[in-house]
C-alpha cells in the first residue's frame, strides 16, 4: 500500500511538471497575441562576404586530390552538380545517402563532416542528406569504393583529416590559409556567402543597399551588441575579425554556437541581437523556425514537430541507442570502478610496517590524487586524443568513455570503500584471522560485504552522479542521450521540447536507480534485523 502511494505521488509530480510546462507554452502564445504578431527572424539579402567551398584532402594522399579535382570538373561539366543543387534549392527531391560501418580491412572513402549544416549536410533518421553528401556518394562510386561518413563537431573536421582518421573533409569547408596546415584543398565547387539575420521588428537595416552600409551600422553600434555565429565558420572570423581573411571585425561581442539554429533560437529569445551565418543554411533555418512561430499554439507545434521526428524519422532509434550507450557507460564504469576501487581501498588499509604495502599505498594515493584532481572532460580528451594516438591504439568513443569513467569513479569509490572498511568493527578481522583465514580471505568474505552494506547509500550517490556525468562523452564522439536529443533538436531547429524530454528521461532513470538501491539495501540489511 505504501509503495502504491509512493508511485502515485511520483506520477502526480511528473504530470504537474508537464502541465506547468504546457502552461508556460500557452502563456507564450498569449504574449504573442498581445503584441499582435509573433517576432520572427528575417534575413538581410546582402552578401556580407563571398567565399569558396572546397573539399579538404588528407595530405598523405596526393593521388586522391587529383582524382577529386578531376571528379569536380566532370560533375560541373556534365550538369550533375546543378542537378544536385536543384534537389535542395530548386524543385528536386533530396536523395538519401547511407554510410557503411568503418572497416580498416576494406577499401573505403572515409568522409569527415558535421551534419548540422543544411542544405550541405544534415541527417534524417540514419540517412545523410545534403549537397556535400550526394557529391560524396557519387565520388565514392566514381572511385569504386565504399562510402563511410563520420559525423563530428565542425571544429574537429579538419583535425581528423589532418590526423589521418578520415580521408576527406566534406563539410561546406571554406578555403582558408590556416586550414591548409591540416588538409590539401581541392578546386572550389561552390561560392558561398555570409548573411545577416535579424529580428523581424528590427528596422535598422531596412535602408541598406550595400555591404558597407551594414558594416557601418554594425560598427556604429559599438560593443553594446552581441552577434551570434556558428563555431569555426567564416561568420565567426568575419564577426571577430581575422587577419588571414582580411576581416576587420566588429567591436560587438561575438558569441559562438554549436550550430546556426541554436544561434537563431537565441536571437529570438532576445539573448543576442544579430546572427551571421552561411546564407544557404540561414534560409532553411529561418524558414523552419518562422513557420513554427507564426500562428497560434506554438508549444503544441513544437511538440508535434518533436513527435514527428521522434516517431516518423526514427528519432526514437537514436534515443534508444543513446540511452543504451549512457547506461552502458555508467553501469560498466561503475563495475570497473567498484573492482579497482575495492582493490585500492584494501591496499590503503593494509598494515604499513612493511615496505611493499607502503610503496603500493604511495602508488594508490597518487592514482586517487590524479583522477580526483582533473575534470572528467579533461581525462576523456587526454585519453582519446593524446594517449591513444601515442600508444597507437584504436578504440571507439564509447569504449574509451567506459574505461575513463571506470578509472575515474575508481578513485572516488576507493575512498568510499575505505571509509566503509574502517567502519567495520576490527573484531571481525581478528575473528577471521583467529580461525586461520588469511588477511585477504577475511577481507573478501567478511569485511568487504559488511563495508558494502554500510556504504550502499553513498555508492548509489556515486552511480547517480555517474549517470549524469556521462552527458559529456560527446566530446570524444560517443553517442549518448545528449547526442540523440541534440540530433533531434538540430534537425527540427527546435531545442525546447527535446531538451525537456531529455531532462525527464534522466529524472526517470535516477528515480529507478534510487528505487533499486533501496531494494538492495533492504535485502542487505537482513542481518541487522533483531526479530
Amino acid at each position: 500500500m505504501k509503495k502504491f502511494k509512493k508511485s502515485l505521488f511520483l506520477i502526480l509530480a511528473l504530470i504537474m511538471a508537464l502541465t506547468s510546462l504546457t502552461a508556460c507554452g500557452s502563456k507564450d502564445d498569449a504574449d504573442a497575441a498581445k503584441s499582435g504578431e509573433a517576432i520572427t527572424a528575417k534575413i538581410i539579402e546582402i552578401d556580407l562576404t563571398v567565399e569558396e567551398y572546397a573539399f579538404g584532402i588528407d595530405k598523405t594522399q596526393p593521388e586522391l586530390l587529383e582524382q577529386a579535382n578531376a571528379f569536380i570538373a566532370q560533375i560541373k561539366e556534365d550538369g550533375t552538380f546543378d542537378d544536385i543543387c536543384n534537389n535542395y534549392f530548386g524543385d528536386g527531391v533530396p536523395v538519401a545517402v547511407s554510410s557503411a560501418p568503418l572497416d580498416p580491412n576494406k577499401d573505403q572513402l572515409v568522409v569527415a563532416t558535421n551534419a548540422a549544416f543544411e542544405p550541405f549536410e544534415y541527417m534524417e533518421g540514419d540517412y545523410y542528406y545534403g549537397i556535400d553528401m550526394e557529391i560524396a556518394a557519387r565520388f565514392a562510386e566514381y572511385l569504386g569504393v565504399e562510402l563511410v561518413i563520420q559525423n563530428m563537431e565542425f571544429d574537429a573536421v579538419c583535425l581528423s583529416v589532418g590526423q589521418q582518421k578520415c580521408d576527406i573533409a566534406m563539410a561546406g569547408l571554406t578555403i582558408k590559409e590556416d586550414r591548409k596546415e591540416y588538409v590539401n584543398f581541392t578546386d572550389p565547387y561552390y561560392n558561398a556567402a555570409q548573411k545577416l539575420i535579424i529580428k523581424s521588428n528590427d528596422s535598422s537595416f531596412d535602408d541598406c543597399t550595400t555591404v558597407q552600409d551594414i558594416e557601418a551600422i554594425l560598427t556604429e553600434k559599438g560593443d553594446t551588441i552581441k552577434i551570434g555565429v556558428q563555431n569555426g565558420t567564416t561568420g565567426q572570423f568575419y564577426s571577430e575579425g581575422d587577419e588571414s581573411w582580411g576581416f576587420a571585425g566588429f567591436p560587438a561581442e561575438t558569441i559562438g554556437y554549436k550550430n546556426g539554429s541554436l544561434a537563431i533560437q537565441d536571437l529570438l529569445n532576445d539573448n543576442i541581437d544579430y546572427v551571421i551565418i552561411d546564407s544557404a543554411p540561414a534560409t532553411c533555418i529561418t524558414e523552419s523556425i518562422n513557420e513554427m512561430l507564426t500562428g497560434s499554439g506554438s508549444f503544441k507545434r513544437k511538440v508535434d514537430k518533436f513527435v514527428d521526428i521522434f516517431v516518423e524519422q526514427d528519432g526514437y532509434k537514436k534515443v534508444v541507442e543513446g540511452l543504451k550507450n549512457t547506461l552502458l557507460i555508467a553501469v560498466l564504469g561503475l563495475v570497473i570502478g567498484i573492482l579497482i576501487g575495492t582493490i585500492i581501498a584494501t591496499i590503503r588499509v593494509l598494515p604499513k610496517y612493511k615496505v611493499l604495502p607502503r610503496v603500493l599505498n604511495g602508488i594508490c594515493s597518487f592514482y586517487v590524487g590524479l583522477f580526483r584532481g582533473t575534470p572528467i572532460v579533461v581525462q576523456l580528451l587526454v585519453f582519446y586524443y593524446v594517449m591513444l594516438p601515442i600508444m597507437g591504439l584504436h578504440m571507439t568513443g564509447v569504449n574509451v568513455a567506459i574505461l575513463v569513467f571506470g578509472l575515474n569513479s575508481a578513485a572516488y569509490i576507493s575512498e568510499i570503500m575505505r571509509s566503509g572498511i574502517l567502519s567495520v568493527d576490527p573484531g571481525q578481522m581478528e575473528a577471521g584471522r583467529a580461525v586461520g583465514l588469511s588477511y585477504g580471505t577475511t577481507m573478501v568474505k567478511i569485511v568487504i560485504p559488511q563495508a558494502v552494506k554500510n556504504i550502499l547509500p553513498t555508492l548509489g550517490n556515486e552511480f547517480i552522479a555517474l549517470i549524469k556525468e556521462t552527458s559529456v562523452v560527446s566530446f570524444i564522439g560517443a553517442a549518448d542521450l545528449y547526442v540523440a536529443f541534440n540530433y533531434i533538436g538540430s534537425n527540427s531547429y527546435e531545442f525546447m521540447v527535446p531538451y525537456l524530454v531529455m531532462a525527464i528521461i534522466y529524472i526517470v532513470l535516477v528515480l529507478l536507480i534510487s528505487l533499486g538501491i533501496k531494494i538492495m539495501e533492504r535485502s542487505l540489511r537482513k542481518s541487522d534485523r533483531r526479530s
Binding site: D425, Q428, A431, V435, G436, S527
Partner: protein, 258 residues
Amino acid sequence: MIDVVNLEKSFGENKVLNGINVKIEKGDIICVIGPSGSGKSTFLRCLNCMEDPTGGEIIFNGVDIADPKVDINIHRRHMGMVFQHFNLFNNKTVIENIMLAPVYVKCKETKKARKKDRTIKYNKKEIQKEAREQAMALLERIGLADKADVYPSTLSGGQKQRVAIVRSLAMNPDVILFDEPTSALDPEMVGEVLDLMKSLANDGMTMIIVTHEMGFAREVANKVLFIDDGQILESGTPEEFFGNPKNPRLKEFLSKVL
C-alpha cells in the same frame, strides 16, 4: 604443547610484556588473572600472534610460531580463540559462522592434495554437507539448533558467546584461548557460558583463559597465573594460589576482588 620462552612485547616505547616463561601441557586448564593493564590480554593475544611478539619464542607443537617467516594461518587453525565481544561474523548466519573456516580450509587442503595426487576427488558440495552436519551437531550440543539459520544480531550475549565457542571448536583445535569470555555478558548469562566451558574442560580440551571469574578459576583450573607489569609474579594450583598466596601484590589483588 606450548612452550613460551622469554616472551616480550612492546608497543613503541611502551613495554607491555617483560619476559614471560610458561609451559603448557596437553589437557591443562590455565586461568590467567591480574589487574587491568597488567598485560594478561596481550599475553594471550601473543600466543596465536594476533599481536606479533617483539622478542622471545612461542614453541607450538615443535614450531616457533613467533618467527615471522612461519605461515601463521596454518598454526592458528589448531588454536581456537574466543573474544570478549564474541566477534561473530555479522554478515553470516549462525551455522555459516561455524562452517566458514572448516569448509574453506578443507577445500584448500583438498585442492592442494589433488595437485600431488590426481586420484583425490574434490567435491565442494560434499565438504559443505559434512561441515553442516558437524556444525548442527555442535549447535545441538549447546541447545541452539533452532537458531542455525538466523543472523547473530538476533541472539542474546550468552547465545552469541556459546556460538563463538563452538565456532572455534569446529576446527578441532589443540587448544582454545579465551580472552575474558564473560566480561561483556549480563550477569544472568555468565552461567551458561561457564557451564559450556566446564563441559569442554571435562572433555579434556586444553584451555587458556584470561578471566575475572575467581570462582570458576578455583573450581576448574589446574593452574592459575598471576600477571602484573608484564611478568608472571605467581603461579600454582588453585588451592595454594588462592589459599596461600605469597606475592604481596597478589595478596593485595585478591583482597580487592574476593
